[in-house]
């Protein structure tokens, strides 16, 4: 949700199974952040988080809402999906652990690096998942204050 200090807030729908469009939300977010004048390193980290999260929704969930909030100090991405949820979050956070299908792997994804890579690029990372309901990711990336008014 946008706060009084937000300079930008927008929500993006992501549809599960839509492999043809996969990555388009992340590319759009990257262009938006560049236009806002953020530091390139923060833009890159946010775009990578958005791409990995978008792929996870497309591969595993029915649908999700990806919310982007930018303030002078931080970029926040929250991804709230309706999907099967993750039975063992700790296992899912292990590099290389994957339940991807052959089709997903043929696209170059599903190597078990998604969640670890999201965490690696985040300054703050939280995950909450409930089997049968879905998964919520909350990621914060500090901008170092490089935001154009």
């Amino acid at each position: 949700m946008a706060t009084a200090e937000s300079v930008y807030h927008r929500e993006f729908p992501v549809r599960g199974g839509d492999f043809a469009k996969a990555g388009s939300v992340a590319c759009e977010i990257k262009e938006l952040l560049k236009d806002l004048g953020l530091a390139p390193a923060a833009v890159r980290r946010t775009a990578i988080v958005a791409y990995e999260a978008e792929m996870n929704v497309i591969m595993y969930a029915r649908e999700a809402k990806m919310a982007l909030t930018v303030s002078p100090e931080v970029i926040r991405l929250t991804i709230d999906d309706s999907g099967p949820g993750i039975p063992d979050v700790e296992l899912a956070m292990t590099e290389g652990y994957s339940t991807a299908t052959a089709e997903m792997r043929e696209l170059g994804f599903g190597a078990g690096m998604g969640l670890p890579n999201i965490k690696k690029n985040a300054d703050e990372f939280a995950i909450d998942s409930e089997v049968g309901r879905g998964t919520r990711l909350d990621v914060v990336i500090r901008t170092n204050g490089h935001v154009t008014p």
């Binding site: 043809a20 996969a22 990555g23 388009s24 992340a26 590319c27 990257k30 390139p40 890159r44 775009a47 990578i48 958005a50 791409y51 990995e52 696209l107 170059g108 994804f109 599903g110 190597a111 078990g112 690096m113 998604g114 670890p116 890579n117 690696k120």
Partner: protein
């Protein structure tokens, strides 16, 4: 750093995006078919060598600030993928060489662009 024209010569490559900057150059090289590995480990400004030829390759390079792509072993992306690369200003190169041969040719001319496990 290696120039686009030198990559084309080394790999006997074909530039699929002639409208991109002919003066393009690449800081390092990263080789992978796994886009997750590219997102995780490839350094910005690198040239990607890959055997994968779908739209994810261009979107991954755009998101991770990679500067160009070589498709090995005669792989060629579809016209819409080439069009997307042109929009994003990412040069695409096709070579008939295997990944191994292409990596051998590039080795010694430019640094490894992977930082994941150092």
């Amino acid at each position: 750093m290696i120039a686009l024209k030198d990559v084309l010569a080394l790999l006997e490559g074909e530039l699929l995006t002639p409208a991109t900057d002919p003066g393009a150059a690449f800081l390092k090289v990263f080789a992978s078919d796994l886009m997750s590995d590219v997102l995780n480990s490839a350094e910005p400004g690198s040239l990607l060598l890959t055997g994968l030829a779908n739209g994810h390759v261009v979107r991954t390079c755009s998101v991770a600030d990679l500067a160009g792509v070589v498709f090995v072993q005669g792989k060629r992306p579809a016209p819409d993928v080439i069009a997307d690369a042109l929009t994003k200003g990412i040069p695409l190169i096709a070579t008939r060489m295997t990944m191994f041969e292409a990596c051998l040719r590039m080795a010694g001319t430019v640094e490894d662009g992977g930082h994941g496990h150092r």
